[in-house]
């Protein structure tokens, strides 16, 4: 067994909180740069230019790319040959969020109890924590600060099995159209199909961890991703919703077996400040 002090996990979560919120990933930057030439609307082009300039300012000034530094979603892949010392994994992750959001001057956006205690927790905890056990003696930590505006435009539908593939496509297009300018386009569309009610939503969000351009390994699904991305980009919403051809930078679909009676489809929308950072301990 490899022993890992949980203080190390806290430190990495803290660092990833700050890095994710202030330094844009290369894939996002490249996709935005390429989208400038695809955009035909002059206003749309100008908005894309603003977003690129914004990333430069954020990185140089250590300011958050977006003031909404999100709900901190953390994915831990823990090797089964790892044993932790010094507390619990959940506390270690929350402590990392607490330190990162405080020391990094990131916004604290979490309300303690929506029903009984509508006050800010003041340190952006708790994180949303997903844990997977995997072979090996490493821990992979992935952190995604997820903003409220794009989360609000995300939807789930328990379709009839007879709705099938056209039903999934229609639901995706309806969701993006309904979202319009609200989730800060150009967006990234994350889709989860199958599993249970909750698992479809889990898959939709987890698909957003992919790098832009990374296709589903199943060629049939990969084709749906590219075709439906092209459909989304015909909706005319455009950068900042001001009209244009670049409504989404990518569309990811993840699937899981379904029950004979159900056909869940979840669409989780990611904003133009798509923030994800990963580190292996």
């Amino acid at each position: 067994m490899r022993q890992i002090d949980l203080q190390k996990i806290t430190r990495v979560v803290k660092e990833l909180s700050i890095e994710a919120n202030t330094i844009a990933n290369c894939d996002l930057r490249d996709a935005l740069e390429k989208s400038v030439s695809k955009e035909v609307s002059p206003v749309g082009k100008a908005v894309l230019g603003q977003l690129l300039k914004n990333q430069d300012i954020a990185e140089a000034s250590k300011l958050p790319i977006c003031q909404d530094t999100g709900f901190t979603v953390v994915y831990l892949e823990i090797g089964m040959d790892v044993s932790f010392t010094g507390g619990t994994v959940k506390d270690a992750v929350d402590q990392g969020v607490r330190e990162g959001y405080t020391e990094g001057f990131l916004r604290k956006s979490i309300i303690k109890n929506p029903l009984t205690s509508p006050v800010n927790t003041e340190d952006n905890t708790p994180a949303i924590l997903h844990i997977d056990l995997v072979p090996g003696d490493k821990v992979q930590i992935t952190l995604m600060p997820k903003g409220g505006g794009s989360e609000n435009m995300s939807r789930i539908k328990m379709m009839k099995p007879s709705d099938g593939v056209p039903g999934v496509r229609n639901f995706i297009l309806e969701t993006v159209k309904f979202a319009g300018a609200n989730p800060c386009p150009p967006i990234i569309v994350g889709v989860g199909v199958g599993g249970t009610f909750d698992y479809a939503a889990y898959m939709a969000k987890k698909s957003l961890l992919r790098k832009i351009g990374e296709r589903n390994s199943d060629p049939e699904i990969a084709l749906m991703e590219t075709n439906w991305l092209s459909d989304v980009n015909k909706l005319g919403i455009g950068p900042a919703g001001l009209g244009g051809k670049v409504t989404a930078l990518d569309l990811f679909i993840d699937v899981f077996p379904r029950h004979i009676a159900t056909f869940p489809v979840a669409v989780n929308i990611q904003c133009n400040a798509a923030r994800v950072k990963t580190r292996i301990v």
Partner: protein
């Protein structure tokens, strides 16, 4: 961006608002106030009770934003717009109090759009996600009410050439609808 760039100063007057058309790029300067969900609920209650507001609302511009904390050496952190539809229910009371302009992102309800025409107001869009860039145009910031709400407190900001675009003008125009009409294709 699209049309000519217009320099506009606050407080807004009817005369100036009537010169603004959808798609106009605006550089806004002067004093504006920040308020989002919780501050609006408080303001509406004060307006309904006939209480004095913590700022002069006459001709005012409200920016829907919850900024990130100011790091050392800066007046404010990142400060991009939040989604405006959540503030739609409070717009009638705010217009009643004297507000003339709003800054946010995303479409407004038909009721709000009607009020913009009736009350001679304007809705500006700021680019969602361009929060660090927008913070560069903020030269002074001060919490003037509801400090306990943290990012949702009411702030007085002094802005200098804040880059905005007119989304809804006092003639009933809607840039979001026009954009989709212009650029959508058959699927």
């Amino acid at each position: 961006m699209g049309n000519e760039v217009k320099r506009v100063e606050t407080p807004l007057t009817e005369e100036v608002i009537k010169t603004l058309r959808i798609g106009d790029e605006v550089l806004l300067s002067g004093i504006i106030y920040t308020a989002r969900d919780m501050a609006h609920a408080q303001l509406q209650e004060m307006i309904n009770n006939g209480d004095e507001l913590p700022f002069n609302a006459s001709g005012s511009v409200i920016y829907y934003v919850g900024p990130s904390p100011a790091p050392v050496g800066r007046v404010i952190g990142s400060a991009g717009p939040t989604t405006s539809y959540r503030m739609d229910p409070f717009v009638p009371a705010m217009f009643e109090a004297g507000m003339r302009g709003m800054i946010g992102k995303g479409p407004r309800s038909s009721k709000v759009k009607d009020l913009i025409v009736k009350k001679c107001g304007v809705y500006f869009g700021a680019t969602g996600g361009a929060a660090a860039l927008l913070s560069e145009s903020i030269v002074e910031a001060e919490v003037i009410a509801f400090e306990k709400f943290g990012p949702e407190a009411l702030r007085k900001l002094k802005v200098n050439n804040m880059p905005l675009i007119v989304i809804n003008d006092c003639y009933g125009g809607d840039l979001y609808l026009e954009g989709i009409d212009k650029y959508s294709e058959e699927i």
